[in-house]
């Protein structure tokens, strides 16, 4: 990996998350046989990244379909409950694949991921995106017509959700540059 220009490093702004314990853990992880294997076999990281991106495609498009229905822009001949029932399982079944492939990348390059402020931002955005997704889906599960009388709130939730997921993708790409 090439050295990153100094102007790209904002790590010093959020340094508290680069604790001694975290860095020690990264050094230990880096020396494990598993990490060494991932580092030395050149095909593992790009393969795993390909699966990771394809999984993101599945999650993101499913989120987009549900959110466009929430906004009333697409699938208007179908209820939100029906559109959600079609796409929600894709989100929840693909997340473990994302976590597993993400874990392989972390083991392969622990310090560049775990101690990376952009990676930490990405995880924070992920938690926020899950909360927003649940806040739309849980009330819908209790009452299929929940969002029908709440057009404004539905739009806000949908826009928030899309911005958060887009932010996750952006942060994912920026990890490589910090």
């Amino acid at each position: 990996m090439q050295c990153v220009p100094s102007t790209l490093r904002i790590g010093s702004l959020i340094d508290p998350m680069r604790t001694r314990a975290l860095l020690d853990f990264c050094s230990w992880l880096e020396e494990t046989p598993l990490s060494q294997t991932i580092q030395s076999a050149g095909w593992i990281v790009p393969s795993v990244q390909t699966v990771h991106i394809l999984s993101i495609a599945a999650v993101l498009s499913s989120v987009l379909m549900i959110d466009l229905r929430l906004m009333g822009l697409l699938w208007r001949d179908q209820s939100l409950a029906r559109v959600s029932a079609r796409f929600r399982p894709v989100i929840w079944w693909t997340l473990p694949v994302l976590l597993a492939t993400g874990a392989v990348m972390i083991v392969g390059e622990p310090a560049r991921s775990l101690a990376n402020p952009v990676f930490q931002l990405k995880m924070a955005l992920l938690v926020a995106a899950m909360i927003v997704t649940l806040s739309a889906q849980v009330p819908l599960g209790r009452n299929p017509a929940f969002w029908e009388g709440r057009r404004g709130a539905a739009r806000i939730v949908a826009v928030f959700s899309l911005l958060l997921w887009a932010g996750i993708v952006f942060a994912g790409r920026w990890i490589a540059y910090f």
Binding site: P5, T50, I53, I56, L60, D77, F170, A176
Partner: protein
Amino acid sequence: MDIDTLLRTLEETSIATLIRENESLFPWVESFHVLAITLVIGSIAIVDLRLIGLASRERPAGRLASEVLRCTWTAFAVAAITGALLFASNAFNYAHNSYFQAKLLFLVLAALNMSVFHLFAGRDIERWGIPDQKNPLPARIAGAVSLFLWIGVVAFGRWVGFSLHPTPLAG
């Protein structure tokens, strides 16, 4: 003018130079490219899975395709523009990279597959594409081929980042 001269000329355009020399412009353009490409393949997969008959079978295929493909084309426009900008910034090396060439080949094949589908099986999609009916074989093949080609586009695209020498920035 031979192709290499043309590629070098493209690299020297002011926009290409700007993306290459500005430290944060390349990752920004790349971020939009990745976001767009995930939406292209994710949305096209929804259509492909309907054509194969694996998902959304309760929806008319023609209606589903026309709704979802609007998202696909919007995202594709963003992916193509950002892709062209990234290409211009390092045109010579991209053009001579075999993974990049394979990615372009798969894009062309995906376009051909789509055109053949629209010319033949797609023409009477309203007739066969009714809910819960088995799709004709050419439609199922077109869906499977499309899915395969787009997965290839993503895979080759990722490999470009690991094989480009000299890499302008991090993989």
